[in-house]
Assembly symmetry: C2
Homo-oligomer: 150 residues x 2
DNA sequence: CATAAACAGGATGTCAACATCCAGTTTTGT
DNA sequence: ACAAAACTGGATGTTGACATCCTGTTTATG
């Protein structure tokens, strides 16, 4: 239901939130998030265009988060690559349904609204802070030195 | 975010709920719901396989609702053609995340849960009964005699 | 200032979702 | 039994999402 691209974008965003000390090159992000590097490159480009991440070219370049994790919610990441399209007008093009959606499409739109709400309510900082056994993306507690560069 | 197929299935289900007197042939459903007839045929086959609708072959045949509208919720229709896939295990395949999802995937799964909940909470009967200006699928109040057969 | 690291973006390939078409089968009503 | 209405299922076409690759450009650093 959520596109693969959304999943990739979220993983990348979380990884960048976890590693704010220096720009992270695509290859490293790809390794850590298990996303195909070539495709991740495209996803990161999109994220950069919408300001979710910043790109840094050249040696020692890479990508960094565009905002503080506290100010970046999941919805912004999702919308950057695959916007949630709320229903504003009747999908059948019935004129009399123009603004007032029929009950069917109203319900579907409410489901979309609930997703928007759930995503907007969570910042990346909250994702990182949540006390839990499993750290996002990491098999074991974060230790970048163990992310090999092979 | 919801597939086109889901939209088509919902329209068909609503139409059949509105017309319970006799089986409705694919052509007629397609006209009323503005769905490509050939493709709708496939969608109806899927709905029939899962019992949401019943097919009737031969002259005077067509499709009818498999259950009373009061007993058929939107989620059943959706799941028949494009099941909502909750997240049960870590998408990265990290073993330590096995059952306990990391905060990221937990949030995404919660969004899925909210969709499930919204859909499960609404029956077709409720969609039809909702007092509103616009009747589902219909430009004007229901009058089947005006659905031409051209 | 040369070199290597790294992003940018265009071209291309693959596959599943969406969509169409048709030949075959079932069923009703004469 | 026959004809017409209607579903069934297989074959096929189309398109966008996912994915890869390569060439060109940028930039930190010795």
């Amino acid at each position: 239901m959520f596109s693969q691209t959304v999943e990739y974008a979220l993983r990348a965003a979380v990884f960048l939130a976890q590693n704010r000390d220096e720009p992270q090159p695509t290859e490293r992000i790809a390794k850590a998030t298990k996303v195909p590097p070539a495709y991740l490159s495209k996803v990161l480009q999109e994220l950069a265009r919408s300001g979710v991440v910043q790109s840094h070219r050249g040696l020692k370049g890479g990508f960094s988060l565009g905002k503080a994790p506290e100010d970046l919610n999941i919805l912004e990441v999702v919308n950057a690559v695959d916007p949630i399209k709320r229903i504003h007008t009747c999908p059948l093009g019935l004129k009399s349904h123009g603004v007032r959606l029929c009950p069917l499409h109203h319900r579907v739109d409410q489901a979309l609204a609930s997703v928007e709400k759930a995503f907007a309510a969570t910042t990346l900082a909250e994702v990182l802070a949540e006390p839990t056994d499993s750290v996002p993306l990491c098999e074991f507690p974060i230790d970048l030195s163990r992310v090999s560069d092979d």
